[in-house]
């Protein structure tokens, strides 16, 4: 490994070494808040490094990209880690979390996500994916007194382990067929004339099964609502954004390099996308639990992203990346708000808890409404521009029917987002006031809000950036 490679790895190293440092510090000096702040600072440092330092190489040891694309996602996931830590401050303190461990895990998870997003090799992909998956196993069940947390942890763990098996076996089969771990080259084994095409195909099916689990595509989505519900709100935020976004970021690289075998994959992804959007939407209709609702909503959104991925090209990939950013910002904010409302007794999740709160906590409920409108794809929010980009790419690539299904799903999904808003603003009886929220929580949510609106009104800068890094 050359010095240049090391330099290119600098942001990841900051995250990983920072993680270790925080962990050690926590062992000696178990003060939750400073450790989390410290973690956030490290994450920001990594983000700035990735943003500002342009390394001399474009690839690290044939595993990861260190070009604009890779750095872009390093910035994004580091920022996500920082925001997650900010929204976790009081949450962790009140539940007597080990600050060092918690911060370390999140930093390490961010490193994993960054690696996954940047991977160009199945080895890198596997490592990155497993790095944050292992972290999430722990984080989901981090709150030891919460039985639901443990149940969620268990479900994610077993499902995740099985999925890891599928993933690894898929990779192994693809390797068998192609003799390389480099994604772009391995994919040629899917080609019509390839020698071991059936093996590669079986590998691809295994691989997609695992990916389907990670990004909750129907029918691999069933764990999602349970895990979101049981996980601590900030972790659920991380889970719904980073762990899915990073997979899609890797898929963009993979799908973009795919030159053969599309004829078989396209209908499959088409069907996955359609069924994901529709099933997710209808499942969310009657939810009475906000976190579960957001879980199903994330299922639907992954369906949309899949449309963009399917469309491909500059338009499609650009749309996917933009959508991931918009979705990340919004979902992080939404889970941040839930975290900021939480009390020592637990998190408010049921609609009952939010009844009429729009006037008790106008700023955060109003912000929540903005996030929900963004998820619903209503302008002037980031979600709208994201959805616009997806539909634009879809229509441009001729996926009209899929776009129409997307529209149908959007329309139905409006209803359940509206239900939350109705509960908050249009109820006659008001629930008990929730926690007033702390500065760090409000700051994190406020940043997400700003980003949501900014991307909704002036998305030009980000769109241009994405065009450049793709």
């Amino acid at each position: 490994m050359s010095a240049a490679d090391l330099a290119a790895l600098a942001p990841i190293l900051i995250l990983a070494l920072g993680s270790a440092a925080v962990l050690l510090t926590g062992a000696w000096w178990p003060r939750c808040a400073p450790l989390l702040w410290g973690g956030a600072a490290i994450a920001l440092a990594a983000a700035f490094t990735a943003a500002l330092y342009s390394p001399p190489t474009l690839e690290i040891a044939g595993f990861f990209r260190s070009d604009g694309y890779g750095r872009f996602f390093t910035v994004l996931w580091s920022a996500v880690a920082a925001l997650t830590l900010m929204t976790s401050l009081r949450y962790a303190e009140e539940r007597h979390f080990e600050g060092g461990e918690y911060a370390a895990l999140i930093l390490f998870g961010a490193a994993g996500m960054a690696l996954l997003s940047a991977s160009v090799s199945f080895v890198g992909l596997f490592l990155g994916l497993e790095a944050f998956t292992l972290v999430l196993y722990i984080l989901i069940a981090f709150h030891r007194e919460d039985p639901l947390g443990a149940e969620a942890g268990l479900k994610y763990l077993v499902m995740g382990a099985v999925a890891t098996g599928f993933l690894a076996f898929g990779i192994a089969l693809l390797y068998t067929a192609s003799g390389t771990f480099r994604i772009a080259e391995a994919m040629t084994a899917l080609g019509a004339g390839a020698e071991m095409r059936p093996v590669a195909m079986a590998g691809m099916a295994m691989f997609l099964t695992a990916v389907g689990f990670k990004v909750s595509l129907v029918p691999f989505h069933l764990w999602t609502p349970d895990v979101y519900q049981g996980a601590p709100a900030p972790v659920a935020g991380l889970l719904s954004t980073g762990s899915k976004g990073a997979v899609f970021a890797a898929l963009v690289t993979m799908w973009g390099g795919l030159e053969v075998g599309r004829d078989l994959l396209e209908p499959l992804l088409w069907a996955l996308s359609a069924i994901t959007m529709l099933v997710g939407t209808f499942c969310a209709l009657r939810q009475e639990n906000l976190k579960r609702l957001l879980a199903y909503s994330s299922v639907v959104h992954m369906g949309y992203v899949l449309i963009g991925l399917l469309a491909g090209g500059a338009d499609g990939n650009g749309a996917v990346v933009f959508y991931l950013v918009a979705y990340t910002v919004v979902n992080l904010g939404a889970f941040g708000i839930i975290a900021s409302f939480s009390r020592e007794g637990g998190e408010p999740q049921n609609f009952e808890d939010f009844r009429g709160l729009g006037y008790r906590h106008p700023l955060r409920c109003g912000t929540m409404a903005v996030f929900l409108f963004s998820l619903a794809g209503v302008p002037p929010t980031a979600g709208f521009i994201g959805k616009f980009g997806i539909f634009y790419a879809a229509v441009g690539s001729g996926y009209i029917l899929l776009a129409l299904l997307g529209v149908l799903a959007s329309l139905v999904s409006l209803y359940y987002y509206l239900r939350v808003i109705i509960v908050m603003f249009m109820s006659d009886i008001a629930a008990f006031p929730l926690h007033r929220g702390t500065f760090s929580e409000k700051a994190a949510v406020g940043l997400c809000l700003l980003a949501t609106l900014w991307l909704g009104v002036l998305p030009g800068a980000l769109l241009d950036l994405i065009t450049r890094i793709l």
Binding site: R144, V158, T164, Y175, G179
Partner: protein, 101 residues
Amino acid sequence: MIVPMSHILAISATMFLMGFACVLAQRNLIMVLIGVEIMLNAVGLTLVGASALWEQVDGQIFVIFLMAMTSAEVSISLALVVYLNRRKHTLEADAFSEMKG
């Protein structure tokens, strides 16, 4: 190569399926985790075989990564299993179904 790749694939696929069948059929968490281990071992076997086929070390390196990862996973899962057992005094996977819908 001494053994044809197809044989290796057949064996590892069988192992993988057996592991998955174990995961699906067994209600006990420990047994489920053992099933996962069998699946992962099938993966290792494939990788080693493929590595031999292509006369590369990449596959073998991957196996090492896999083993490291597996051990981490096992330690986490055992910790969780112990914790769960202490809470509910059962290791039935489906006993943990408070959240649904």
